[in-house]
Symmetry: D2
Subunit: 325 residues, 4 copies
């Protein structure tokens, strides 16, 4: 194993709060070890296009508390081809970058895996996505902030739901994962959560509206964006058709869920992982995503991390039901 | 003028943050003057149905900081008829209520005006709406909270807009008033604001996207829900069709704008107006909406308050343009 | 084992955000199982004085998002005596309460342990304290909210520290535990953290101020309230005496750390534990504190839970140092 | 009057949220008029030391939402002498700066007045201070943010006050002005406010604790830092001595009040004033502080603006008393 001298760091895929804290940790830890660090802007697209900038201590001053990513992010179709990756590797060599820290989600790691296999460069991945849908870490960077954003928004919606005796169907993010929906459903005292992983959500909701307590002054239903029956508007139409007397409204929380100042937990997670990423590269590790499992740093090969099948905790589904009775 | 002994208080129309602070102020001030206070639940609907409850000090403990309205709100079609109002008056007499404080918007005051004209009961109105679209007050109760909710949400959206070099079209509330859009447009550093009161918004935006700076890393456009060209999705389609290279997204902020803990300003405004409402009734005033104009309590007859034609400050429109250049 | 029919629930010791969510979960889960639930107000003091109230679904409506505890909390010197506990047991029997859920910290569990040993009543404890200083759970209810409150406060302080090139010494809570200080130190990008568990904090800080970078525009030092050298004011005096050219200020965050709306994580933790507490009592468990360890419910005997010796993660201390270089 | 070509902008005195929004507005408006803008760092100290940097559009990107001041602030004793001001003017000329926008409080304007009198350079001032203690504007930039920070903090403190039946004495900023204390006292439902402008605060509080309702579960007293009887600790000692049965605690909110993301109102005020400052200089105005009075831009000579004698609205003091009964 050759000595690493210059680490490239980049963010890719959807941005998530805490990515800046991770970048800061990578940069500062590398500098602490007298390594150079190069910021690669706009993910794989910038890697191919040579959109690089040397990073110093000041580059990452006062960013730990900021949402988004100062290195920006983008999708790259070129990088999905062997030619694109070859070009990217050429650029990396040209800029004397001999190791990479990739911050992103499964698409990011799929690319990182191929780059590391086809070319001789060690890559370490950090899980940066609000969806929490990766194997190899208890939580992804950004998830804790996103669920707090959702809960704060639903608290506001509940104020108006209570005042008008309404049922609100609130759609949250998560792609094909219900992890945001489930946890925010518990935390916001929702009536029901409709998850992409289970078939039963809508039936259970309809049953409950028909046979359950009639004296509830407000009801919140959390729908994951990937929910099988269709989005929140479709669910809303079904409910309205069957229960015309219930004043039903739909709210799509949308992109506010991706931004905002990261929570304490996300900053700590990002800082620990950024620090560990540089340590891992120094130790000769490559082709792995780092995570925190049970409080300890865990190393998961990219091919395993991206084969996510987030398990839904069935007790949590039950808890939503029992506590909103 | 007969001595008032029992004041009825209610909220009507869309809820707004600070209504609870206003209720608290009415109740506590009335009790201070050894008057009785009766809470009327669900607005005019509850007034007709006899949904009344006596209020004491404890009834309004610990509510100053809560969004929504503990007295709930509802629309009433019955009250729009003379028969409905007669029934309401009958119920008020039955419960020995001899004066009213109505908290709401123009619909509320239209009803209050008719009730006070057709029947012998003094009514004082307080402006409770996030839209700030009433004559007779510099600000309505709830407006300041709503614009802060919008600005906080747009701050989050800007994080992700910056990270991905996107243009975001954000739709805010305000019915046929652009006051929420204009002020939040200035405060969130928006590229443009599209207001229902002006024709020029969309043209100016299109001109700017075509001829303006190309190096902007993100753009925020604020659209008022009543904007003439259609909602944010329609605006988004127009922009996407003409500028396919701009990564354009739409976000409808929706009902989060109605809820949440009221800001300091909204609590102070609500407290002052609630206090002044009881004083006004004691002084024999009736048929007026109270507001604060230039720091002083102002009295505006209902018929004038509801004829709102919110003026748009043209300098503010210019400021949005200049400061986002 | 006798069938449980009526569960008493109470909060004791310092309040923490999420206690209400835990109470709600206990009440709703008990009702779900057709058990009665009695709220005991003001902790052990109310238990002795008979300050009891039956709880129903409505009793815990709309409290999941509220800080503090609706059952209130108090210290009781009487309960520390066998006579006091005997009296408490007498009152419990009189009110036909045959099981208890105690929400609080080590003092609460010490009392619960003695009560359960001396008298025949099963008690389950839930960890409600911002200090996170209990064995038997990865996190206590309230800790996540408290560290976010601290981080938000330090973000504000950093604004002014940056503007004036100041060093701020910020004192945070935690009694004899540095867990709040350590995590918030990482998350707020602090220069140093001074912890009660280590001797080195102050020396390291002084060394760094003398030999470290001189070009830092602001510095934040987090001091745990139990730190050995004395509180933040004492540390401030030491720094000022040795480095008169550094503009040094002290801020004691104080009681804001105990209150506020609980975070998503605290609400989920509280909901899971409240649900599990009732399940545990139904299964015949007693004398244990419930926690969540590695994502699973864990059962720890009271005598073990209260013998806390919170371990300080040395890598985290290193991370603070490295990342603020 | 000579044509202005290069405007210098600086912040001075205590920082306040919204200063960055004002800087942004000055820079962007100047650029809009094809003027140059120079940022002067660290207030008058930097003006003397030549700490200048040219500003462009990018210099003020993404700062509208940030607390503090990117131009930093400092106190300068040198500038208080004619020689210091002469040196400052020499530096300004050397950098071809021919007009100034000074953002700060009374100390800032005192300096600006002298500079403008002794040397030929037009200066316009913008009111940037959390204290709201200047004549010539309804609100100063930062005041609205500060009072919301206070109210949010007191909301948290009330959670714990309610849980433990405590009286909290909360000290807020404001130097010799009670405007922060009074408004936050109303908004947080305080029992009493103790203001530097009135003698009666402490007597009224003591009378009330002795003769008022005994069944209040919590009490909040807001003390302005300049209150005559001494700070919050002294008030706390007096209360504890006379009412040993009341569980009394003290909390000094401190420097969190100076920082944080500015509210919508502060950003709008700062944007309007920054825009108007450049317009004013172009029109040949000098020696004036700009403010907003009754919604319109107002111009006040420096000598008048700094002679503040903030009037206390007596009805507001009464409202605190009546609403907390």
């Amino acid at each position: 194993m050759t000595q690493i001298k210059n680490i490239g760091v980049f963010t890719s895929g959807g941005d998530s709060p805490g990515m800046n804290a991770a970048i800061r940790a990578v940069v500062r830890t590398a500098l602490y070890h007298d390594l150079q660090v190069t910021g690669i802007r706009r993910g794989y697209e910038g890697m191919i296009n040579g959109d690089y900038e040397p990073m110093n201590r000041k580059s990452v001053s006062n960013i730990i508390q900021r949402g988004g990513t100062i290195l920006k992010s983008a999708r790259s179709t070129d990088f999905q081809t062997p030619e694109g990756r070859k070009l990217a590797f050429f650029q990396l060599k040209k800029h004397k970058i001999d190791a990479l820290v990739a911050i992103g989600g499964d698409g990011t790691f799929t690319g990182a895996k191929l780059l590391g296999e086809e070319h001789d460069i060690p890559v370490i991945g950090l899980p940066g996505t609000i969806d929490n849908d990766l194997i190899g870490t208890d939580f992804t960077i950004g998830y804790d902030t996103a669920i707090n954003t959702v809960v704060n928004a639903v608290d506001k919606i509940r104020d108006t739901a209570e005042s008008h005796d309404r049922l609100f169907i609130v759609e949250v993010m998560g792609r094909d994962s219900g992890l945001i929906a489930l946890r925010t459903g518990v935390a916001s005292g929702a009536e029901s959560v409709l998850l992409p992983e289970t078939d039963l959500g809508l039936d259970a909701l309809m049953y409950r509206l028909e046979h359950g307590r009639k004296d509830k002054s407000s009801r919140i239903v959390i729908v994951a964006e990937g929910e099988r029956e269709g989005g929140a508007f479709e669910i809303g139409d079904i409910v309205k058709a069957k229960f015309p007397n219930i004043d039903t409204r739909v709210s799509i929380l949308g992109h506010i869920q991706r931004g905002g100042r990261p929570t304490c937990m996300d900053r700590v997670l990002a800082s620990r992982l950024g620090y560990a990423a540089v340590e891992a590269l120094k130790e000769g590790r490559r082709g792995e995503m780092l995570g925190v499992i049970h409080g300890e740093i865990a190393y998961t090969p990219f091919e395993k991390a991206i084969k996510h099948s987030p398990e839904i905790n069935k007790t949590m589904v039950k808890i939503v039901e029992v506590l909103s009775l």
